[in-house]
């Protein structure tokens, strides 16, 4: 009697745990309740509401209610999720192609490293010139504003591209002697001489 009694006690003790586990899984499956927690792509519904209403298919644009004859409910559940997933082209039609909406990548994407090409991960500044000459349209898929180029190539007073730490001016001489070419990736020769000519 001791054995079965102990077993029963164990089963009774484990029961609330397994029930809680099922409830958690069920809750997890209600993915739409967590849409605001999805950090990789942020979609503020409220901010889009007025524009979508005016443009038509306010909610149906991303949440289709098209007819279906799928009767396998488990399969249908998965297909609903796929049907509801955001589609780059739908977002980009306003935010990138037409630029009728704000087009800063970080408005929707939390980390630019997730969306930029892999070759951007290491010292891409050394190769960007060749790529941009070969196919500038590739760059423009993300860099919609030409100031992204001109801020480096033609301006020195921009605060957008801070690649050196503060007070780098004191240390730059040493590094420039070690690897002068590295300065040349961003700066042309006038950038040096403009100052050095004044203070020889």
């Amino acid at each position: 009697m001791k054995g079965p009694g102990l077993m029963l006690l164990l089963v009774l003790l484990c029961l609330p745990l397994s029930v809680a586990g099922e409830a958690t899984n069920e809750k997890d499956e209600r993915w739409w309740e967590k849409r605001h927690q999805r950090a990789d792509i942020f979609y503020p519904h409220k901010a889009h509401q007025a524009v979508m209403e005016a443009d038509g298919d306010a909610c149906l644009r991303c949440h289709p209610f098209n007819p279906t004859d799928i009767r396998d409910l488990e399969r249908l559940r998965v297909i609903n999720v796929i049907a509801n997933e955001p589609l780059r082209e739908i977002c980009h039609s306003c935010h990138v192609d037409r630029i009728s909406a704000p087009w800063r990548c970080d408005l929707c994407h939390d980390q630019r490293q997730k969306i930029w090409p892999q070759d951007h991960n290491f010292n891409y500044i050394a190769n960007h010139a060749e790529d941009s000459r070969l196919d500038e349209s590739q760059c423009r898929e993300c860099h919609l504003d030409l100031s992204f180029c001109t801020d480096c190539h033609f301006r020195r007073d921009s605060s957008r591209h801070r690649v050196h730490p503060l007070a780098y001016v004191s240390a730059h001489g040493l590094e420039a002697r070690f690897d002068t070419a590295s300065c040349g990736r961003c700066h042309d020769v006038d950038y040096c001489s403009d100052c050095h000519r004044r203070r020889p």
Partner: protein
């Protein structure tokens, strides 16, 4: 009654419920020119199937997902293939939501598909007085699938208290009803108005619905340039599923007109009667 086509002398081992072969199509059937008939003008395997020598391949080994398994496929619905030859109109069932005739009179027989006795549309009724043949949550299922459109499945649930309060507020504010089933769950008629516009007076909450659609025409969609890229994206996702993408087709269309909805889904009013966004 038309004579039943007789099988020809050469027996063909067909799976159950298969279309007849070795019969001449009747005059009512319009076989496309590029669907080949045999020299006697009869339907053969090649008429419908584009797979070479399909009759020599064992049934289990036939690739039923091949695009040309049914000629010029794939087809989202098998019936779409049937209607390549057969006139769709002649197979259409009566639309029982089409309740009013040209004079605005309603057909009591159509009402009695769902009601034991046609209720007076001018009067207010309790749910019991409507004398529905089946509970409201199952009555639609005699003709419609339980999930006849995407995202229907996720809606057939019991809304939480917060959403129920929002729904009640929408009912008061918009002068509509958003009825739940006896167990408090969302059902088809929570969003869909089953009666043709004009049958129940629009001043009544049960009679208010979208105005732009024609119940005879049904929901009308229009093509959209995003369709190609949408299909490609979704097919790539579907292919990763166990069982692959076939025969599911997710496509992108826009609503041109909607019908039998308590509020417009096109501008999102129907969705926002229940849903709210924090951000």
């Amino acid at each position: 009654m038309a004579a039943t086509p007789v099988m020809a002398q050469r027996p063909v081992d067909l799976p159950p419920l298969h279309h007849l072969v070795n019969v001449k199509p009747s005059k009512a059937v319009n076989v496309p020119e590029d669907f080949p008939l045999n020299h006697r003008g009869e339907i053969t395997c090649e008429t419908c199937h584009g797979i070479e020598d399909i009759e020599d391949i064992p049934f289990e080994e036939v690739d039923k997902r091949a695009p040309d398994f049914l000629r010029q496929g794939p087809y989202a619905k098998t019936t779409a293939f049937c209607y390549r030859c057969h006139a769709e109109k002649t197979y259409r069932r009566q639309n029982i939501h089409d309740l009013l005739d040209a004079r605005g009179e309603y057909d009591e027989k159509a009402c009695e598909y769902c009601h034991q006795q046609a209720p007076d549309p001018g009067k207010d009724h309790t749910r019991e007085q409507l004398k529905l043949r089946l509970p409201p949550e199952t009555i639609c299922l005699g003709c419609h699938l339980k999930t006849p459109h995407l995202n229907a499945l996720d809606h057939l649930v019991k809304p939480d208290e917060k959403m129920r309060r929002r729904m009640q507020a929408s009912e008061r504010r918009l002068g509509i009803i958003l009825p739940l089933d006896t167990r408090g769950r969302i059902m088809c008629v929570t969003c869909h108005a089953p009666h043709e516009r004009g049958l129940i007076d629009e001043s009544k909450p049960a009679g208010k619905q979208v105005a732009d659609g024609d119940v005879k025409e049904g929901v009308v969609y229009e093509d959209h340039p995003w369709d190609a890229v949408y299909r490609a994206d979704k097919q790539a996702r579907l292919k990763k599923l166990p069982g692959g993408a076939a025969p599911v087709a997710l496509y992108y269309r826009r609503l041109r007109s909607e019908v039998l909805l308590r509020l417009s889904a096109r501008d999102g009013a129907l969705c926002l009667a229940c849903h709210a966004f924090e951000r």
